[in-house]
């Protein structure tokens, strides 16, 4: 991904001067120019860009083997004049000219190969092309198709689910919520809910907030204090609303203390230091570490364990899951966390969406299985399976 970004960045950059002045050329051996240049609108964009493609020079990687760059030139007419617009390295066969000023106007392109000694080849053939914006991103058909298919599953199962009792398998970490809050109450200790260092625009944080709603309802019923330090003030505001509502629903709006859901800091390790301090001083009986966590996961979980709390963790960050698994009593692994709100509410419509998610899983498993069989048959050179396999992989690789 980083490499891609850097590449994109590079494409926007053009050398600020032309490597053309060669004063002491003794013997000029010009490389062969690139051939078969074509220019066309860059697909799937907002316009303002023309893609130029060509066949590499005879002296690029073969022949004299002295080509190191291709310089791209653009003109308003077939005869020129042509202005320099950019450079790409040897071996490459395309260039996106993103500096096109007007869409739907024909521009003309030529290329020249260049050697280390800054000797340029003759110009290639002239190619013409226009830029235009598109109304649909054709590289994203696969996402649209699969997205609609999965969404249909959801719609179907939600419709089927209305008014029915649906099964959902046991998720130990969620069954333990009541036990954890209950034990905390018995010991006369508060409950600590830490939403991690995600923002409200992380889906995992929203999932954590739905869990918070259920936990708060329990603490309201048990009349136990709930403490929640926050990393993102927007999450804090949302959390205050949620907990207030939970307390109102439990019939104890007066027990809600807004000051216990507070902002700490927006610095990863500052937050970890602060939450550690709160754990050591408030000695909570139950700790919920739910949401987005990075390296601080183990710092929090180990400190939480040292104060003797029951800990229920959950995150979608796979790299942190091993640490939660080893340091916490219960851990919601990835998708279990997203299923939590449905699990805890037992609302048929919500459970229907879980069924939809399972149906999507069946589709993906089938794709992998079919792919594996095709791949094996293709690998053994049996029939057309190899090509079928390739097109399957390519379909998933687009966009």
């Amino acid at each position: 991904m980083n490499v891609l970004l850097a590449l994109l960045f590079l494409m926007q950059q053009t050398p600020n001067s032309l490597p053309s002045d060669t004063t002491e050329v003794i013997e000029v051996v010009r490389p062969a120019p690139p051939t078969d240049v074509i220019a066309m609108d860059t697909p799937n964009d907002v316009g303002g860009s023309v893609s130029v493609q060509w066949e590499i020079s005879e002296d690029d990687g073969k022949g004299l083997n002295n080509v190191i760059l291709y310089n791209v030139f653009r003109g308003q007419s077939e005869e020129g004049p042509f202005d320099y617009i950019g450079t790409v390295g040897a071996g490459r066969t395309s260039y996106d000219d993103q500096t096109v000023e007007k869409d739907k106007v024909t521009y003309y392109y030529i290329l020249k190969a260049q050697t280390k000694e800054a000797v340029e080849s003759e110009a290639s053939n002239v190619a013409s092309g226009k830029a235009a914006p598109q109304w649909f991103h054709h590289g994203r058909w696969n996402i649209l198709i699969l997205g609609i298919l999965f969404a249909l599953f959801f719609a179907f199962y939600i419709r089927m689910a209305k008014g029915k009792k649906l099964f959902i398998r046991k998720i130990a970490g969620l069954d333990a919520v009541e036990e954890a809050v209950g034990r905390s109450t018995e010991m006369g200790k508060p409950v600590l809910f830490c939403p991690g260092i995600g923002y409200l625009y992380d889906i995992a944080t929203i999932a954590a907030l739905t869990i918070l709603g259920r936990v708060a309802k329990k603490t309201a019923e048990y009349e136990t204090r709930i403490i929640m330090p926050n990393y993102d003030p927007v999450v804090m505001s949302a959390a205050q609303e949620i907990v207030k509502q939970s307390y109102t629903e439990a019939g104890r709006p007066d027990n809600f203390n807004e000051k216990d859901i507070f902002y700490l800091t927006q610095d990863q390790f500052g937050f970890a230091a602060g939450v550690d301090g709160i754990m050591l001083r408030e000695k909570p009986g139950a700790i919920f570490l739910q949401g987005v966590f990075y390296a601080e996961s183990l710092i929090l979980a180990e400190t939480g364990h040292s104060v003797g709390a029951i800990q229920i963790a959950g995150t979608d960050r796979v790299t942190q899951l091993p640490f939660f698994i080893s340091a916490c009593d219960y851990t919601l692994i990835g998708e279990e966390m997203f299923a939590a709100s449905s699990y805890l509410s037992r609302d048929p419509v919500m459970l229907g969406s879980i069924k939809g998610s399972d149906a999507s899983k069946v589709v993906i498993i089938s794709v992998i299985l079919i792919g594996a069989i095709l791949g094996i048959l293709g690998g053994l050179n049996i029939g057309p399976f190899g090509t079928w396999f390739q097109s399957l992989v390519n379909w998933f690789g687009r966009g």
């Binding site: 699969l146 997205g147 929203i206 949302a238 610095d267 550690d276 301090g277 091993p322 053994l380």
Partner: protein
């Protein structure tokens, strides 16, 4: 109680080592290094137990980081995205012509931001739901295509790079059984249960392996700090 005694002795030994090195070595003459070194020790003191030194360092850290964070945020959110385009660069005036949309693009979020402050009023506090609803809707909208792109397609495709080898076989079995473990709507019994069990084995092996793999990176961090304490601060090692 006995154990406690041992621990206290252990901690004292560590302290004596450090003090010994402080006398023997050539401590740094830079006040900044001294401050950084003391704060480092303050924070590590919490490994023994909560104490005034840790509390001091912790509150200092939170205070500094909030002050720093708000300064940076102030700049990124208010100055660059509201104040500058509204009053300095005036993005809504192009070639002397007034354009409504660029102005709205600054005013609407500012108004929504102001609604965050409705929490301070008693009656209109519900208005805070509007910016929250906006942010949540946005995250849901972004998440749908990007999860497909970054996770489903990417990982399905990479799983499908198949060769005729044991590794490929293990990879396919691992991905499928792990996915089966996340089946929620069927009870994990019979074949499904067995497959899901293999899935949880894979998950456990994976977690163990990445735990073991990470130890080195974490110890490296401590080596880095130790180097700072012994070399930059105490100067006991050359």
């Amino acid at each position: 109680m006995k154990e406690r005694k041992g621990l206290i002795i252990g901690s004292v030994i560590l302290l004596i080592i450090f003090i010994g090195m402080l006398i023997k070595g050539e401590p740094s003459k830079s006040i900044l290094v001294w401050i950084a070194a003391l704060l480092t020790l303050f924070i590590y003191s919490f490994l023994y137990r909560d104490n005034i030194f840790y509390k001091f360092a912790e509150h200092l850290f939170v205070g500094v980081s909030v002050g720093y964070g708000i300064s940076v945020y102030w700049q990124n959110a208010f100055i660059r995205k509201v104040f500058d385009p509204l009053f300095i660069t005036k993005t809504y005036i192009v070639d002397g012509q007034f354009h409504l949309w660029p102005l709205l693009a600054i005013v609407i979020p500012t108004l929504m931001g102001l609604l965050m402050l409705s929490i301070f009023t008693k009656k209109q506090a519900w208005l805070i739901r509007i910016p929250i609803a906006f942010v949540v809707g946005m995250s849901a909208g972004i998440s749908v295509p990007s999860t497909f792109q970054a996770y489903i397609f990417e990982h399905t495709k990479n799983t499908l790079y198949i060769t005729l080898s044991i590794s490929s076989f293990i990879m396919i079995v691992g991905v499928i059984t792990t996915l089966v473990y996340f089946f929620f709507s069927k009870e994990h019994k019979g074949l499904l249960g067995k497959t899901a069990n293999i899935g949880i084995w894979f998950i456990m092996i994976a977690f163990g392996a990445s735990f073991g793999y990470t130890v080195m990176a974490r110890i490296s961090l401590l080596i880095g700090r130790m180097n700072f304490l012994l070399y930059d601060w105490l100067g006991v090692i050359k």
